[in-house]
Each structure stands twice: as structure tokens, then as C-alpha cells.
Symmetry: C2
Subunit: 280 residues, 2 copies
């Protein structure tokens, strides 16, 4: 049971965690966020997530009101007062309270929320998922903005197709899902993944590193949606999904269940997480 969030550095009862309606996230969708997993009281891959969060802020002209060590201490304190060792952690930095409903004030609002971790996170990717494709290019793809209006609008269509997620492509050029990076395994066993106009996921970084260390060929390049026809596997990576096999795209079967490369990367990623926690 999560009892507290942190608002602008102050632990706040969840039911009292509010923003005034003059905030630019509410009025103008202006804000950034980030999302990561904490295990045994430690934010996993903290250095990567912190670096991305500060970079997102810089690219959107927002100012994070705390230095990185202070922010980390706030996360650890929030875990402690909620008596949680394992949790998903959400940072949200909003545009702040604007006097004219448009111009950003000097001070942004910084929220830290916790969420319960799904059971067996990363290990429950059993059968893989079915996804649909959709022609769309995210605004400011390199920034983790709060703009997910398209992803949310697509939920009914995903459901209607009996699918669990989607992959965006821009006129045929594959990008990413609303919340995950996307990969194909080609018929030579190489991992092929888009390199531009995407959010560079932290899980993506680690998984590609692990793949290269394991001697798997990795091609970060433009990927066309027609390449799905030759793929032997497909998968997503994300902070919550880890490595998630994708078995069907638009009713086309890619693989009959999780393929060998996806399963190998899943195992390597779990080991990497254990090693991170061991050496912390």
C-alpha cells in the first residue's frame, strides 16, 4: 500500500498529492517524465535514468529544482517511508504554475510517485505479445515528454485487434512503441533496430551492449516495415517489460512463441540486473 508521494521535495500523503489547475501540464501538456525500477531500495541503472531525465529537461527548457544526489536521496527516502524495497518509480517534471496559462514560470513542479511492481517483472513474458502497426512519428522523439495522447487514443484499436501494444512507423520507417523500443531479428540472426527519431531507452542501451558482448550482430539503422516479412523474431525492450517477445504484428505471425535470441537476451538482462545490485 503506497502512502506517500514526493511533491517538490516534500513527502506528501498520496490523497493530498495535487497540482493547481494553472500548471502547464494540465493546461498545455508541457512536461517531461522518467520511469525506472527500484530493487532492494536501489534505483536500478540510476546513472542512466538520471542522465536522461536531466537531458530531457534541458531539451525542453525546464529546470529540475534539485541536483542529482538530492533527487536520488529523495527516491530512497520515499521508498523507506513507504516501507518498500521494490517499486516502480515515476518522475514527473511539469511546466509549473503559469500566470497567463502559457508562459512558463521560473519554477517547475517535481513529482515522485511510486507504483507497485508487477509480479515477476521481466520474467512473466511467457508467450510473447501481439501488436499492431500505426503510422505516426512522435514529437521530439529524443525527449521523454509527457505527450502520449496518440498512444492512449490507440488503446481501443489495439484492444479491438486482440493485440496488447503497437509499433509506430513513419511512412513505413519503423520507430518504436508508445513506451518501448523495437527490434527485429533477421534471417541471419542479427538484431536490427531503428537508430533515429526514437527515444533511446536505458534498457535498449543495456540489451544491445549485452547482445554485442554475446557475439550477436547488432545493426542500428533505418528499418523498414517490409523487413518484418523476413524477420525470424521481434521483441520490445522497456524498463517495465525488460525483453518482451513480439510474436504477431498485424496478424502476421513472426514466430511461434519467444525465439532463441529473445530468450537469450531475457536471461542476460536478468543477470545484468542481479550484477548491478550485487556490486552497488
Amino acid at each position: 500500500m503506497i502512502k506517500y508521494y514526493t511533491i517538490n521535495g516534500i513527502p506528501t500523503l498520496v490523497e493530498k498529492a495535487v497540482l493547481h489547475v494553472s500548471d502547464l501540464s494540465i493546461l498545455r501538456g508541457y512536461g517531461i517524465f522518467d520511469f525506472f525500477i527500484a530493487r532492494q531500495g536501489h534505483p536500478l541503472f540510476w546513472e542512466d535514468y538520471a542522465a536522461r531525465f536531466y537531458r530531457s529537461a534541458e531539451l525542453t527548457g525546464l529546470q529540475i529544482p534539485f541536483q542529482e544526489p538530492e533527487l536520488k536521496a529523495q527516491v530512497q527516502n520515499l521508498l523507506r517511508i513507504n516501507e518498500m524495497a521494490d517499486a516502480a518509480v515515476r518522475f514527473v517534471l511539469t511546466g509549473g504554475y503559469s500566470e497567463d496559462a502559457y508562459t512558463p514560470p521560473d519554477t517547475a513542479n517535481m513529482i515522485i510517485m511510486l507504483h507497485d511492481l508487477p509480479a515477476n517483472i521481466w520474467e512473466s513474458n511467457g508467450k510473447g505479445i501481439k501488436i499492431i502497426s500505426h503510422d505516426y512519428q512522435r514529437d521530439l522523439p529524443e525527449v521523454k515528454t509527457i505527450n502520449y495522447a496518440m498512444g492512449i487514443r490507440m488503446l481501443p484499436r489495439i484492444r479491438a485487434a486482440g493485440a496488447q501494444d503497437l509499433v509506430y512507423h513513419d511512412g513505413g520507417w519503423i520507430r518504436e512503441s508508445a513506451r518501448s523500443n523495437f527490434y527485429l531479428v533477421d534471417n541471419h540472426g542479427a538484431i536490427v533496430t531503428p537508430h533515429e527519431q526514437i527515444l533511446e531507452g536505458v534498457t535498449r542501451k543495456h540489451v544491445l551492449e549485452l547482445a554485442r558482448q554475446a557475439g550477436i550482430r547488432v545493426e542500428e539503422r533505418d528499418v523498414h516495415i517490409d523487413e518484418i516479412n523476413l524477420a525470424t523474431e521481434a521483441f520490445f525492450t522497456s524498463s517495465t517489460k525488460g525483453v518482451m517477445p513480439v510474436t504477431h504484428i498485424d496478424n502476421r505471425e513472426i514466430s511461434d512463441g519467444p525465439g532463441p535470441v529473445s530468450r537469450q537476451l531475457q536471461a542476460l538482462f536478468l543477470k545484468k540486473v542481479e550484477a548491478y545490485l550485487f556490486f552497488i
Copy 2:
């Protein structure tokens, strides 16, 4: 001094007008809004704004929790309890409180805010303004979503150029400003304005109707940024600006002050507003 807003139908002291941080506007930038002027206690062109607001909701999968007559009564009541006859009115419909920070709940949150009207609204467009151009296509342009992250990010660049606003173009094809529709007057005296991938403004609708009635040729079509070189006037329309002459684009002078077509449309629009109030 504005004392009350309305939250989900309930008049609420401004300082207590808050949303919980689980709202999808804060977490996912998911919401729509609309904005119009009330004069003498009457929302101007209510039929147009209400129709657009309900259409925006439908296109984004949101449900406005009130029927149109009830919403209008809420606006008029809010004006009354704030003892204001003239005000700018903002509707914001947010995605609502989500349990998993992504999936929309059944109930959206509906906010009505009032803002003080700028002095001599629509009549203080004296010298016209200077704008810059920027290559950008809004997401879901036909919907008045809350996604203004690009417009806000551009504010420092607008300021640095000594300009007051911007016009977006998509690879050379002119669209609109962040908050206004855009028009050129060509060297034959015709009004030329983009017809696609834009938000269809209510002021735009009335001004184009007035122009046609006055015998001015109107061309709603694709407009290329190079046509600026041949234009004799440029202007914006919006709910707050009325008809706003644009004299400079990217350091190129279009006209030495407001031109005759802009001034004629300004006068016609003011008369139209007076007639609306007279016949209400």
C-alpha cells in the same frame, strides 16, 4: 479579481482548484481544451465553440460529463458568482484519474477557468506584430488538444528574434501559429489561407464569411511559404487576437503597418461581435 473556477460542475475557490497527480493530463498530456470570450455575461459564438469542444472530445475518445445546455449554464453561473460580465473562458477536459497511469478511466475531469480580458481586446492591434517561421506539424491538428509543448519551447527563440509569435510550416507548407490561424493577402487583394492540417478557428470561420460577404476573394488551399514574397499583407485570427496584422516574417517586411484588408476585417469583426450581442 477572479475568485472561483468550476471543477466537475462545482464552483471551487481558485486556490483550491486542484487535480490529483494521477490525472492523465499531468502524467500523459492527455486532454483537450477550448477558449472563448464572454461579453455582457454571454459567451460569444457559443454554438461554434461548444460544437468544436464536443467534437474535440469525440475525436480524442474523451467524454464531456455534461450536456451542452448544462455546460453553458455553468459558464454563466461562474461569471455571475465572480461578478464578471466580460471575461475569457477556458474549458479544460483532462483524461481523468488513471489507476495505472496510462489507461483512461470512465470519468474525465472538466475544469472551467476565467481569465481577465486584456484591455480593448481586438482593438489594440495597432502596429501589427513580427513573427518567425518554424518547421513543425501539430499532432491531430483538427483537435484542440492541450499539446503546446512546441509553442512553449519556441518562446525563447521568438523573444531572441525580437518577434511576438510564430507561424508553423510543414516542409514549406504554411499551417498556423501555435494559437492562431494565418492568412496572406496576395498582390491581387485575395485572402489566401491554409485549408488542411490546421485547427479550424471559430474566428477564422467568421472572418472568412465576413470577407466573402464584403466581396473579397478568399482562397482556402495549400499555401507555400514562398508566397510570402508576393504578399501585400499578412494577419492572424484568434479568439483573443481577433484580426491581428502581421507586418514582418523572419525579418522580411510584408507591410509598413496594418494593411487595408486587415483593417477592413478588424472593423467588420468588431461589428459582427456587436450584432451577436445585440440579437442574443
